[in-house]
């Protein structure tokens, strides 16, 4: 059991969905801090500023809604995978779509896993438990070793 505060970056244009996921995460025993971004026009400058040391708190995990209003999700995944600091930070993509071609494109672009986007509290709670019990308990994250 670790008590280090985990940094989670959530990129989702629906602020309510982010709040629901944060609430569900707070019901687990995970110590976490969320940075929320809502659009590609917020995410791209964030990546730029992060690589220039203007932002603290390297994310342990990135949760990305594939459907953002102003950027193609797969394009954003490529941008993160090219990023000098975040290139191996795990990315969980969620989406309401079952488009197989996009699913393949996401995995080929280097996401760590794709999930169905939670559409109610129960599904958000399932995701929160999965983040806590699988990503932060079972697996070795690259951020366990790399410190900024």
């Amino acid at each position: 059991m670790t008590f280090r505060t985990r940094q989670i970056l959530i990129i989702d244009d629906d602020a309510d969905d982010i709040l629901i996921l944060e609430e569900c995460l707070s019901r687990t025993s995970l110590h976490f801090q969320v940075t929320a971004l809502h659009t590609g026009s917020e995410a791209i400058p964030y990546l730029h500023e992060f690589s220039h040391g203007k932002i603290e708190g390297k994310p342990d995990l990135i949760i990305l809604d594939l459907h953002l209003p102003d950027i193609e999700g797969v394009e954003l995944i490529h941008a993160i995978r090219r990023h000098v600091i975040l290139r191996i930070t795990p990315i969980i993509v969620y989406s309401g779509s079952d488009d197989q071609e996009r699913l393949h494109a996401c995995y080929a672009a280097g996401v760590n896993c794709c999930l169905k986007k939670p559409s109610n509290i129960d599904e958000a709670m399932t995701l929160a438990h999965a983040i806590h019990e699988f990503w932060f308990t079972t697996i070795q994250l690259p951020n366990s070793y790399v410190q900024r």
């Binding site: 191996i88 079952d98 896993c113 399932t126 699988f134 079972t138 070795q140």
Partner: protein, 147 residues
């Protein structure tokens, strides 16, 4: 949650017979139908993935469980060759290995592994890890090529 229409094909690349037995045993209680294939070294894994005889008619795996320390070609070489192959790079790879060395973890993520798990010591702990993989990867995750 995913709705299962056909078995989930899992390729396990593992040279330790005991770990194979334990994994199979742990997965017997899975809520989903799994079709587990085992190969014992990295060379065989790549033959399997490329459907090279004697693997011409095997299904494409939905997920790969990959050990790092393998005979002939190691897990890092398998990952590296998969990344360079447009037909293979989208298959999720779960690395399950004895190593907890920083260099192995970072290098493995650099090579495109989807997650890295250190095999725990002890039977119960090992089975718990396999169950965690089962509960997450085979029940919650949307796997490529699965409707």
């Amino acid at each position: 949650m995913t709705t299962q229409t056909s078995p989930i094909h899992v390729l396990m690349v593992e040279d330790d017979a005991e770990d194979v037995v334990l994994t199979k045993e742990s997965l017997t209680n899975s809520k989903v139908t799994l079709d587990l294939h085992v190969v014992e070294d990295g060379e065989e894994a790549l033959l399997y993935l490329r459907k090279t005889p004697p693997y011409a008619s095997v299904p494409r795996p939905d997920v790969i469980l990959l050990d790092l320390n393998l005979p002939k070609k190691n897990g890092r070489e398998v990952l590296s060759e998969m990344q360079q192959d447009i037909h293979l790079r989208s298959i999720p790879v779960i690395v399950l290995t004895t190593s907890d060395q920083e260099e192995d973890v970072l290098k493995t993520y650099e090579l495109g592994a989807n997650c890295y798990i250190t095999k725990p010591v002890g039977l119960d702990q090992f089975m718990k890890v396999v169950n965690a993989i089962d509960n997450f990867w085979f029940s919650i995750v949307k796997l490529p090529s699965r409707k």
